[in-house]
C-alpha cells in the first residue's frame, strides 16, 4: 500500500486527506432513504407512459388517439403531430444529428417513441396506450450494418434533406502511408475481423423524469436521471426555447449510470411537454424493456484489425478499419472533433511507429446511442481490438502472449509519450505493473498447470489484457459537446465555524463523490472530511460543468476541487498574517494551519482563520473577507490510467460452458484518494467485462426485432459468474494533475473484456480456434470449437 494510509485521523476516525474511509452517502441508502427520480412525489403529480413502435421500420399512415383520450383518468395524449405544432417533434442529438421525440413520418427502430399519455396513474396511462390505434405500413429494415450501404438498401433517414443513403461519416486518424509501408516490409502480418457487439449499460434504475412547469413563475424544475445536469439545462434552453435562468435540473440519487444517462431521451422532453400541457407535475419512468430497447446502447463496432511484426515479435504497425453501427439517429455523445470518440487510442500500450484507423458510420434500424457503458469514449473498443489482435499475433508467432507484450510495452523513460495517432500519454511504468500482475497470478505456474491439464484433455485458458486509457475530457480548445467546452467549475465556502461546503459540477451515480471530494478538500486544507459537505446534482446550487462520464470526475472536477481549496488556503494565509500581525511571507503551512516560521507555536488553524475571515479583524487591502473561492478547471491534457489484467477460465468443450476461475487486476490510476472506493470501482467494471465477454447478447432478427429486450434474454452477471476478484496496484501519479490522480471509473470495463475473451480463446486454441466474437455464450463457444462460429449480432437459427 501507499504512504497515503498514513494520513492523520480526525476525531471521528476519518483520514484528514486520502485513505480508506467509509462513505458519507451510505447512511441514507442503507435505510431505504435514497431519493431516486421515481421517489420524487409532488402534490397533484400525474403519471405517464409511452407508446412505442412494434416495427423496426414502417411508415406511419395514421394515429387515432380518440379512444385513449376518452378513457377516464387520461389528461393528455401527445403525438408527434402535437409536438410539431410546438416545434418539438425533433430534437438535436449530442452528435449534431436530429432524433424524433415522437415519430411523425416513420418509425425507424423497434421501440421508438410514437405517443405519450398523461394520466392519473401509471396503470391508467398504460391502459390508454392499448387504445391508441396506429396504422403502419411496414418497410424493409436495415439490420445488418454490413449491408447498410448497398445500393438497394432502404434509406432510413429520408427525413434529412440530401440524405440518399445510410452513410453518416468517414473519419480517420494516424498515418496511412507509413502504416502501409510498415506492413509491406513486415515479416509477419495477422488480420482478423473482430466484432464488439452491441451491448447495453442497463443500470438497475431505469431512466425517468419528473417535470414541473410552474405556470405562474414560468420556472421549469426537472428531476431527471442525468449524468450531466448542467449540459442538460443548456440543451433544454436551446431546444425548447425555455429561458435558461428559469430551468433547474436536479439529478437526485442516481441508480447507476454507466453512460446510459448522458443523453436526453424523448421521455424527458415528453414529461416537460406533458407538464406544460396539463399544468401539473408529470412523472415518466420507463420500464426495463423500454430501457433496453430504446435508450443508449454501446459499441456495435465491426473492426478489421491488422498487425505487422518482425519474426521475433517486435510490433511494427497496426491498422484498424471500423464499420460503426449507429442505429437510426446518430446519438453518440462525443467531443465534437472526435466523431469516433477516442477510438484512435487503439495503438494501446506498445512502442511502435506506425498506425492508422478509419471509421465509417452508418444508420441502421436500431436504437440510437453508441457511447455508453463505461467506455471512456470508445476506448473500450480500442482496448479490446488491440489486445485481441496482439493475442492473435502471439498465436501466429507461437509466442507466449505475456512475453510478446513485455517485449513491446512502452518503457518508463519514453513518457511523456506521443502515440502514432497523436495522444500524449502522461506517465507510466508498464512493465512493472505487468510483473506485479504476473506475480499475483502465479503466471508460470498457471502455464504449467494448463500444460498438464491439456495432456489430460482439460481445457484451461489464461488471458492477458494490458490497457491504456485516456480520460478526463478534456482540454476545452480540443473538446466540447455541442459547443460546450469540457471544463468544470468548483465552489468552496468555509463557514465561520470552519465547516465547509464544496459545490461540484459533476454528480455521483454511485462513485462516492460525497466522500472523495470531501477528502480532496480535506487533504488540501486539513478540515476533517466529516466537516465538509459535498453539494452536487442541482443546477441552481452548483457551478457549471459537463458532468460525470468518461471517468472525468476525478481528473477534471477533482482537480478543480484541489485547486479551489488551494485558492482558499492562499486567502487564509493573508488573513492569518493579518491576525498574527506578520507578513504572509513569514508563514508556513502544515496540514490545517498557518504558523510563523521559526515560531511554530504562533499560528492560526484553518478553523480560526475562517472565523477571523468573517469577524471584525481588519483585513489587508484587497482581501474581501469571508473564506471562499471559485475555480474553473480546464485540463491541460487527458490523464492516462492503465493496468494489466489476467483472467483464468475453465472451458467445457462438450457444452461450451466457460467458468471464470480467477481474475487478477492490477490498476495504476495514479494517486488513490480512497483505496476502498477505487477497488469498488474496479470490481464493478470487472463484472461488466465478464458480462460483455460471456453473456450480454443484443441480437436482432431480419425484421429488426430486438432479441434482448428483457433481463430474461439480456443476461447480466450475478454472484455465480463473478469470481473473487484479486486486485493489486501500482501508483504512478499524473504529472499534470494537481493531486496526481488519473481516474479509474471505467478502467476495468475497458480493460477486462479482452482478458476474458483471450482466456477463453487460449483455452480452446487446441481446437484450432484463433478468434470468436463476444459474447462467448456456451452455444457460441461450442460453435467455435466445431469450426463454425456465427455472427453474434444477428439472430441465429
Amino acid at each position: 500500500m501507499t504512504a497515503l494510509d498514513d494520513a492523520p485521523r480526525s476525531a471521528a476516525g476519518n483520514p484528514i486527506g486520502f485513505g480508506r474511509m467509509v462513505r458519507k452517502e451510505d447512511a441514507r441508502f442503507l435505510r431505504g432513504e435514497g431519493n431516486y427520480v421515481d421517489d420524487v412525489n409532488l402534490p397533484g403529480m400525474l403519471h405517464s407512459a409511452i407508446l412505442r413502435s412494434p416495427y423496426a421500420h414502417a411508415r406511419i399512415v395514421s394515429i387515432d388517439t380518440s379512444a385513449a383520450e376518452a378513457l377516464e383518468g387520461v389528461h393528455a395524449v401527445i403525438t408527434g403531430a402535437v409536438l410539431e405544432t410546438l416545434g418539438l417533434a425533433w430534437m438535436p442529438t449530442l452528435s449534431m444529428d436530429t432524433q424524433a421525440v415522437l415519430a411523425t413520418d416513420k418509425v425507424r427502430f423497434q421501440g421508438q417513441e410514437v405517443a405519450f399519455v398523461v394520466a392519473d396513474s401509471r396503470y391508467i396511462a398504460k391502459d390508454a396506450l392499448e387504445l391508441i390505434e396506429v396504422e403502419y405500413e411496414a418497410l424493409p429494415a436495415v439490420v445488418d450494418a454490413r449491408t447498410a450501404l448497398e445500393p438497394d438498401a432502404p434509406v432510413i433517414r429520408d427525413d434529412k434533406e440530401g440524405q440518399t443513403s445510410n452513410f453518416i461519416y468517414d473519419w480517420e486518424a494516424g498515418n496511412k502511408d507509413e502504416t502501409e509501408a510498415a506492413f509491406a516490409a513486415a515479416d509477419v502480418v495477422v488480420t482478423e475481423d473482430i466484432l464488439y457487439p452491441r451491448v447495453h449499460p442497463a443500470p438497475m434504475e431505469t431512466c425517468g423524469a419528473v417535470a414541473h412547469m410552474d405556470a405562474v413563475t414560468g420556472k421549469l424544475t426537472l428531476w431527471t436521471t442525468t449524468q450531466a445536469p448542467h449540459a442538460h439545462r443548456t440543451l433544454y434552453a436551446l431546444v425548447a426555447g425555455l429561458p435558461e435562468q428559469k430551468i433547474q435540473v436536479i439529478s437526485p440519487d442516481i441508480g447507476g449510470g454507466f453512460g446510459n444517462k448522458v443523453g436526453i431521451y424523448p421521455g424527458y422532453v415528453c414529461a416537460v411537454v406533458g407538464s406544460i400541457v396539463t399544468g401539473r407535475p408529470v412523472k415518466w419512468v420507463e420500464d426495463r424493456s423500454e430501457n433496453l430497447m430504446s435508450t443508449s446502447f454501446a459499441r456495435d463496432y465491426h473492426m478489421k484489425a491488422s498487425i505487422a511484426s518482425t519474426r521475433d515479435g517486435k510490433i511494427l504497425a497496426v491498422r484498424v478499419d471500423v464499420l460503426a453501427d449507429h442505429g437510426a439517429f446518430n446519438g453518440v455523445a462525443q467531443p465534437t472533433k472526435f466523431p469516433a470518440g477516442f477510438f484512435h487510442i487503439f495503438t494501446g500500450s506498445y512502442d511502435y511507429p506506425a498506425a492508422y484507423c478509419s471509421v465509417r458510420a452508418v444508420y441502421t434500424n436500431k436504437a440510437p446511442g453508441g457511447v455508453a457503458y463505461a467506455c471512456s469514449f470508445r476506448i473500450t473498443e480500442a482496448a479490446y481490438v488491440i489486445e485481441r489482435i496482439v493475442d492473435c499475433l502471439a498465436s501466429e508467432l507461437a509466442m507466449d502472449p505475456a512475453e510478446l507484450r513485455l517485449k513491446n510495452l512502452l518503457r518508463p523513460e519514453q513518457f511523456p509519450y506521443t502515440t502514432p495517432t497523436g495522444w500524449e500519454y502522461d506517465s507510466g511504468n508498464y512493465a512493472e505493473t505487468m510483473r506485479v500482475a504476473m506475480d499475483l497470478a502465479g503466471y508460470d505456474e498457471l502455464r504449467a498447470e494448463q500444460k498438464a491439464k491439456r495432456e489430460r484433455g482439460e481445457y484451461m485458458g489464461i488471458g492477458i489484457s494490458f490497457f491504456t486509457e485516456g480520460v478526463g475530457a478534456g482540454p476545452r480548445k480540443h473538446m466540447d459537446i455541442l459547443g460546450l467546452g469540457m471544463a468544470d467549475g468548483c465552489d468552496l465556502r468555509v463557514h465561520p465555524t470552519g465547516k465547509a461546503q464544496v459545490r461540484l459540477s459533476v454528480q455521483t451515480q454511485g462513485q462516492g463523490h460525497e466522500t472523495t471530494f470531501a477528502q480532496i478538500v480535506s487533504h488540501e486544507l486539513g478540515i476533517p472530511p466529516e466537516d465538509i459537505e459535498v453539494i452536487h446534482g442541482d443546477t441552481d446550487n452548483t457551478p457549471f460543468g459537463l458532468g460525470t462520464y468518461g471517468s472525468r470526475s476525478t481528473p477534471v472536477s477533482g482537480a478543480a476541487a484541489a485547486l479551489v481549496a488551494r485558492r482558499v488556503k492562499d486567502k487564509a494565509r493573508l488573513i492569518a498574517a493579518a491576525a498574527l500581525e506578520c507578513s504572509p511571507d513569514d508563514l508556513e503551512w502544515e496540514l490545517g494551519r498557518w504558523y510563523v516560521k521559526g515560531d511554530p507555536e504562533r499560528g492560526r488553524t484553518i478553523q480560526e482563520i475562517a472565523m477571523d475571515a468573517h469577524g471584525p479583524l481588519e483585513l489587508p487591502d484587497g482581501v474581501e473577507g469571508h473564506l471562499d473561492a471559485q475555480v474553473v478547471y480546464n485540463p491541460p491534457n487527458l490523464t492516462y490510467p492503465y493496468g494489466c489484467y489476467i483472467c483464468v477460465v475453465d472451458v467445457d468443450p462438450g457444452t461450451g460452458q466457460v467458468k471464470v476461475r480467477r481474475f487478477i487486476a492490477v490498476d495504476d490510476c495514479g494517486t488513490r484518494i480512497n483505496p476502498m472506493i477505487v477497488e469498488g470501482q474496479v470490481h464493478g467494471g470487472l463484472a461488466d467485462g465478464v458480462g460483455m465477454a460471456l453473456m450480454e447478447l443484443m441480437a436482432f432478427d431480419e425484421d429488426g426485432n430486438h432479441l434482448g429486450g428483457s433481463f430474461m434474454d439480456y443476461l447480466l452477471p450475478t454472484t455465480m459468474e463473478c469470481p473473487d476478484w484479486e486486485l493489486g496496484e501500482t501508483v504512478t501519479p499524473s504529472p499534470h494533475h494537481p493531486i496526481g490522480a488519473k481516474g479509474v471509473g471505467e478502467s476495468a470495463t475497458v480493460g477486462s473484456p479482452a482478458a476474458v475473451v483471450n482466456a477463453v480463446l487460449d483455452a480452446i486454441a487446441p481446437f484450432g480456434v484463433r478468434h470468436a466474437d463476444m459474447p462467448l455464450t456456451p452455444a457460441n463457444v461450442w460453435r467455435a470449437i466445431q469450426g463454425s462460429p456465427v455472427r453474434t449480432d444477428l439472430a441465429v437459427e
Binding site: 485521523r9 476516525g13 480508506r20 474511509m21 467509509v22 462513505r23 452517502e25 451510505d26 447512511a27 441508502f29 442503507l30 435505510r31 431505504g32 432513504e33 435514497g34 431519493n35 431516486y36 421515481d38 421517489d39 412525489n41 396513474s121 401509471r122 396503470y123 449499460p201 442497463a202 443500470p203 438497475m204 434504475e205 440519487d253 442516481i254 441508480g255 447507476g256 449510470g257 454507466f258 420500464d287 426495463r288 424493456s289 451515480q509 454511485g510 462516492g512 476502498m676 472506493i677 477497488e679 469498488g680 474496479v682 470490481h683 464493478g684 467494471g685 470487472l686 463484472a687 461488466d688 428483457s710 433481463f711 447480466l716 450475478t718 454472484t719 455465480m720 463473478c722 473473487d724 476478484w725
Partner: protein
Amino acid sequence: MQVTITVNGEPRTADVEERMLLVHFIRDELKLRGTHWGCDTSNCGTCVLWLDGEPVKSCTVLAVMADGHEVRTVEDLAHGAELDPIQTGFMECHGLQCGFCTPGMMMTSRWLLDHNPHPSEEEIRETLSGQICRCTGYKNIVAAVQWAADHPAGADAAATPSEVTA
C-alpha cells in the same frame, strides 16, 4: 378491493386495484421508497422484501395476494439510530455504490443470516444469485454478509471502521 397488509408491524388498509403489484403498493400507496422497481420479470431483485418472513420479489406479487399477510421492508431493518449488522456490514465493506440494489440485497442477506448464521462464501453467493448489482461486482456484498455474520451484535465494531478490510 380492500386489503389489509401488516407492513413492518403495522396493519395498513387500502383500496387497491386487483392488478396492483405489491411493489407499487409499497412504493406508491404507502410511500415506502426503499423497495425499488427494476425489471418486472423477477430477474433483478431490487424489489425484494419479506412476505411472511420469506424474501420475495414484490414485482411479481399482487398486493391482493398479500392481504392478511405480513410484509417487512428495508425501512424496518434499523432500530432507530441503530443499524442492523447487515446494514453496518454493507457500509464497512463498501457493499454498495449507487444503492439501488442494496435494500433487496440486504433483505435477502438478513434472511440468510437468520437461517444460517455462518454461511460459507458459496452459500452467500448462491442465496444472492437471483439479484443483480451493476456496481460492485459482488465481492464486497459477499464481504458485507460475512462481516455481519462475524458481528452479530454489530455495534461494537462500528466504532472501529478503519480496522476492517473488505
